[in-house]
């Protein structure tokens, strides 16, 4: 079978808007885990409008720099990953807790379940945290993660990505997602990436190479903004139909 005939990735469907298809069949683990019944809509006024406030002790000074968590330097392509956390009206969300985790440059996670026969790096744990500043900016220094194989289908590989977890102002703005790198040849084969069915929405998961943020003689840079919903039930009326 040629890749053009691959059944793993379904054709685009712009009607999904910025949502993800939670029962996307190409991603096999959804089969027994995605809820089958329609979501119940809460009355807007009952939806909580606030979220957890994290103390300064949540983040230590070097948590934003994944290359300086050990005695030696990790191997790989050093990069800056930076951007802003915004609400859907474009206003910055300050003091948002942003947490990231990723594979090392060889595509291996420092996790006992990951048995990919690629080397672990004793100088790389692959986790970082920071708070956004008053303009909603976050910034990490890390390594470009490697692509890695997974068991979803024959010869399945994840495009390189960094996992992101973000807390907005309201708990209803909570977002866990993945940031990808521009031009990855694996995009068209990856069911997780393509579970976002609208190509315009999918593009929002891809960072941009950012020459202005690169550090000469030291690191390349990628820029990626994160837009959270405004929180509250009924912000995404399409969601119920796709539950």
């Amino acid at each position: 079978m040629t890749s053009d005939e691959s059944p793993i990735v379904l054709p685009d469907d712009p009607s999904f808007g910025d949502d993800v298809q939670v029962d996307y069949p190409g991603y096999r683990s959804t089969r027994l885990r995605a809820p089958k019944r329609p979501l119940v809509t809460l009355p807007e006024e009952l939806h909580s409008v606030d979220g957890p406030v994290f103390g300064d002790e949540t983040v230590s000074e070097l948590d934003y720099d994944l290359t300086r968590q050990h005695d030696g330097e990790p191997l790989g392509e050093r990069i800056v990953v930076a951007g802003r956390v915004l609400d859907d009206s474009g206003k910055p969300i300050r003091n948002a807790l942003v947490e990231v985790w990723q594979a090392n440059s060889a595509g291996r996670y420092k996790h006992q379940v990951d048995q990919h026969p690629a080397p672990l790096d004793p100088n790389f744990s692959g986790a970082g945290r920071c708070f956004t500043d008053d303009d909603g900016n976050y910034r990490f220094i890390t390594l470009k993660p490697g692509a890695y194989p997974w068991g979803n289908h024959e010869n399945a590989w994840r495009p390189a990505h960094i996992h992101f977890s973000v807390f907005g102002r309201a708990f209803a703005q909570r977002l866990v997602t993945q940031m990808y790198f521009p031009g990855d040849p694996l995009f068209r084969f990856d069911p997780i990436f393509n579970s976002v069915r609208d190509p315009k929405a999918r593009a929002l998961l891809v960072s941009e190479f950012d020459l202005a943020t690169t550090q000469p003689e030291w690191a390349l840079a990628f820029r990626w903004n994160i837009v959270l919903g405004h929180g509250g039930s009924g912000t995404t009326p399409l969601e119920e139909g796709h539950a």
Binding site: D18, R33, P35, L39, E99, V176, S195
Partner: protein, 162 residues
């Protein structure tokens, strides 16, 4: 003008690297006189434990938050206090479920078993069919409160739109 939201993606199997680096499952300290243990199991559509899930609990009334990964048996646990009832609504915890295979986290609510009257008059609980109400009320178990989460099946947990 409204900006399009960044879409959700699964937390994947390795979230513990980034999200479980420290113990964060205590919404209140263990020695708080009001502390209650909240336990439960996260189960898939065949009733099997989901060993790579993560649960976040948010007590909106008390402003308290915690999270717990699930173990190989799909078990999670929290130390929480029962939130005060607010505006005619029964005390509850908002529960967010994350897992490999879940492309977007799911929101449910845990109500307390020793609040039959408040639960009966809660506007959200009382708007649901009886079987669904029962699924959202935790059970007493050995001095703890037990709240199992079923992603699918006849007794699927009720999940709310975000």
């Amino acid at each position: 003008m409204s900006l399009p939201k960044t879409p959700s993606q699964t937390v994947g199997p390795y979230y513990a690297i980034g999200l479980c680096r420290r113990v964060e499952n205590e919404l209140v300290p263990l020695n708080d006189p009001a502390a209650i243990r909240v336990i439960g199991q996260l189960l898939d559509g065949e009733g099997r434990p989901i060993g790579d899930g993560m649960i976040e609990a948010w007590d909106a009334a008390g402003g308290r938050w915690g999270r717990s990964g699930t173990d190989a048996d799909g078990r999670f646990s929290f130390v929480a206090a029962k939130p005060p009832a607010l505006q005619g609504a029964a005390p509850r915890l908002d529960i967010y479920v994350f897992a490999r295979g879940l492309l977007k986290h799911q929101l449910t609510r845990m109500y307390f078993p020793d609040e039959p009257e408040a639960n009966a008059s809660d506007p959200v609980l009382s708007s649901l069919p009886e079987a669904d109400r029962a699924v959202l009320v935790a059970e007493q178990e050995d001095g703890a409160v037990r709240f199992d989460i079923r992603m699918q099946g006849e007794r699927q947990t009720v999940f709310f739109a975000l």
